[in-house]
Each structure stands twice: as C-alpha cells, then as structure tokens.
Amino acid sequence: MKYLNEGIEIIGKSPDSGYTIPLYLIRTSEGKFIQLTTLLFYTVVALQKEKKLKAVAQEVSLNVGKIVDTQIIKYLMRTKLAPLGIIRDSNPASQQEQKSTNIILSLTYHFTLIPEHVAQFLAKLFTPLFYPFVIGVVLTSFVEVNIWLFMTQDLGNAVQQIIYQPSLFLLLVALVLLGTLFHEIGHATGCEYSGGKPSRIGAGLYIVWPAFFTDITDVYRLNRAARLRSDVGGIYFNAIFSLLATGIYFLTHFEPLLLLIVFQNIEILQQLLPFLRLDGYYIVSDIVGVPNLFAHIKPILFSLLPGQAQAAPKNLKRWVRWVVTTWVLLTIPTLIYLFWVLFTDAPHLMTTTWSSVLLQMKAMQENLNSSNYVIASIRGLQLLIIILPVLGIFAMSFRFGKKGLEILSRVSGNLLVRR
C-alpha cells in the first residue's frame, strides 16, 4: 500500500538552521517545501519505503532511537502529515497554507514573464559573472564609477535634456524597467551558480505596488552561503547594469545614462531594507537560518506581554532569538506606519488622482489630435503611474474585506455550533 502522495521528495537536513533542534526538508510535487522535526521526517522516509505500518514503526524506532508503535505512526499521519497534503488522498490543508503565507504581505495577481526553462537558460548564461575574480572587478569598478559620478559629473545637464526632449523620459523609464528585470535575473543566476534550480520570473502586485519577482524556492535546500549569494545576486546585477550604462555613456556621451546609474543606486538601497519581502528581508532570514520571519511576529509580541514569556518561539538559538526579536520590534512600527499612511492618504490620493486623470486625458486627446504621439505616449505612461497606486489600494482593500468576511463567517459558524 502506498501511504504518501505522488511526487513527495525527501531532501534531508535543513542546512545552517537557526534552531537548536535538527530540522528536515521534504518537497511536494508542486515544488513546495515542508520543514519537519526528526520523528515526522523519519516517518515520511519510512512511509515512502515500507508497505506495512508495523515495518514503518520499526524503521522509525531505529532511526530516532526510541520505541515508536503503529498507533503513534497513525496519529502522526492523521494529525500532522495529512493536513499538509503529504498523506495519500488527504486534502492539502488550506489552513496551514494560510498560516504560513500572510495574505496581506504576500504577492497577489501574479503572472509569469519569463518561464522557468528560459529563466534557467539565462541564469546559466550569466553564471560566469559569479566567478570570484569577476566579482572583484565588478565591485571595484562600481565603487570607482560612483566616486567619478558624484565627484565630477553634473547631473543637472542630464535632467535638462530629459525636460527638453520628453521622448528621453520614455526611454529612461524603459531602461529602469529593464534594470529591474536584470536584477531579477541576478537572483536566478545566484541560485543557479550555487547549485539550485531557479524557477519562473514574473510580475504581480505586492501590497499596493507593482513588482517583479523570481521564484528561487529551491534555495531552501542549499547552505547559508548559497542562499545569501542568491539574495544579493539581484543588487550585484544592479551594479553590473550601472557599469554597462557607464560603458555606453563613455562611447556615446549620452548624459541621461548617468541618471540610470543613480536609479540603480536607489534600487540597491531600497532592496536592502529588511522589511516587507525585499532582498534585505531574505538576507536577515538567511543569516539567522529562520525561513519565515513573519511567522514569528505573533509569538514574539505575545511573549513580550507580562506573564506570557512561554509564548516565545521555542528552539531558536540564543543569538538568533535576539536578532529575530529585534527584527520584529523594528518591523511592527514600520508596517503600522506604512499601512497608516496608505489608509489615511487614500481619500486624498483618490480625489487628486481623479482630477489628475481627467486633466491628463484631456491633454492626451489634444496631443493625439495634433499627431504629437510621443507626448501622448508620455501622458499615457503618466496616467498609468498615477492610477497604479489607487488600483493597488483597491486591490488591498478587497483582500482585507475578503479576509475579514472569512474570519466573521468562521466566528459566527463556531458560535452556532456551540449553541
């Protein structure tokens, strides 16, 4: 008899973990990783090999060094493994999934821009950029370019050119988008160089902002250095993009390219923020060896209340607990401030956006009538830039409302059951 669902893959010990106890990884056929404690892991290993529960219990007992009977195996299968969809014919529990991926802070409305096989091809192509010698050259040159840019160049000329030639604005926006996509290829390349298999690159909505993303879930099975390489691969590629822009500038003396270098620096700084799910967040997560920092917010906050010390996350190494607690204490006010600003500014933003949209549309119509297509395109782009945050707020409010209704219906259902 087969006990496990098709495609369950045994990975092994979770490397460089921040926990005091050993943790293990398995992967589902959908490519999702599940982290397990020792007894559960060896139960899954035995269930995959053995046909009878008695033999499963014997093998698990041998591996964990304690007597485990068939009743315990059945109990673990029913209460711990089935809710995650590991056991054959069990429903992948939506409950657990919702727990692990916070609905507000996860990527929504996402779609694929570069499919997996193309992303892997590009990642392989750029792998030499991660050779130590090349990294040394890139980083030294990047520092030199920035010193040269900010010490000797006047960016005012580049700005003036854009003001006088609006078509350059469109070009600059396109180059910024290209740079962001190159950043994502950097993550995929870092993952590939480290022995992982990057997945698709796509776009979606994060909170209220449009975003690109690279799926590098495979790095969970890699060690700390490999995970960190994949994390910083993005900003490393921003540095390379800056060098490319500098090279083209020296060939063409096309000054708006200097602004592109400034935007790459801004993106690097933005990405290093340890909040939300930007690169800085994953860097902190990988340094401490805790895969889902957001899951620790609730227990850590509870543990800070008087008499609630037992609520603190268990089994974290001492230094890891300090880092995670500090991260929580910095993240919570940041998130509260962020959402406060988003919601309090929303009415003002919407009225301003509406009047601005009307103005832009009228102007765009005039541009089209006079066959001024470049200016009309810029107005179209401006319209998009104006509308996107409002659409994002609507989408987020919708998700909030949906989640609120789900909680209400669950609570009211529970009350009816009690009656």
């Binding site: 397990l36 404690t37 711990k80 590991i86 910024v176 602004l259 801004i266």
Partner: protein, 57 residues
C-alpha cells in the same frame, strides 16, 4: 514515546521564495525633480515692476 513528545513534533509549509523588486516607474520623475531642485544655481525668483499713476488736477 510520551504523548507530550509526539505532540511537540511539528511540520511547517514554508512560503514560496519570491525575491521581489518593487517597480518604481515614477523614480525618473521624482529624481528629475529632486536633482533639478538641488542642482547648483537652481532657484526661483519673480520680478514684478511696480508702478502707479498719480493724477493731479
């Protein structure tokens, strides 16, 4: 194994690792405005000639 030991066992579904970068398409506009405001010699001024007619009878 005790019931307590068994209950302490845990399995957790890890979130997908989607490394994000926010699309700051408004960055060129913001930066252009900022650089323009900070550039040396930049400034705003207004000159208005003031005059008035005085009628004397």
């Amino acid at each position: 194994m005790s019931h307590k030991d068994v209950n302490q066992e845990n399995a957790e579904l890890l979130p997908q690792r989607e490394e994000l970068s926010l699309l700051n398409v408004a960055a060129p506009v913001n930066a252009a405005v900022a650089v323009n405001a900070l550039s040396s010699g930049g400034g705003a001024f207004a000159i208005a000639k003031q005059c008035n007619w005085i009628y004397q009878n």
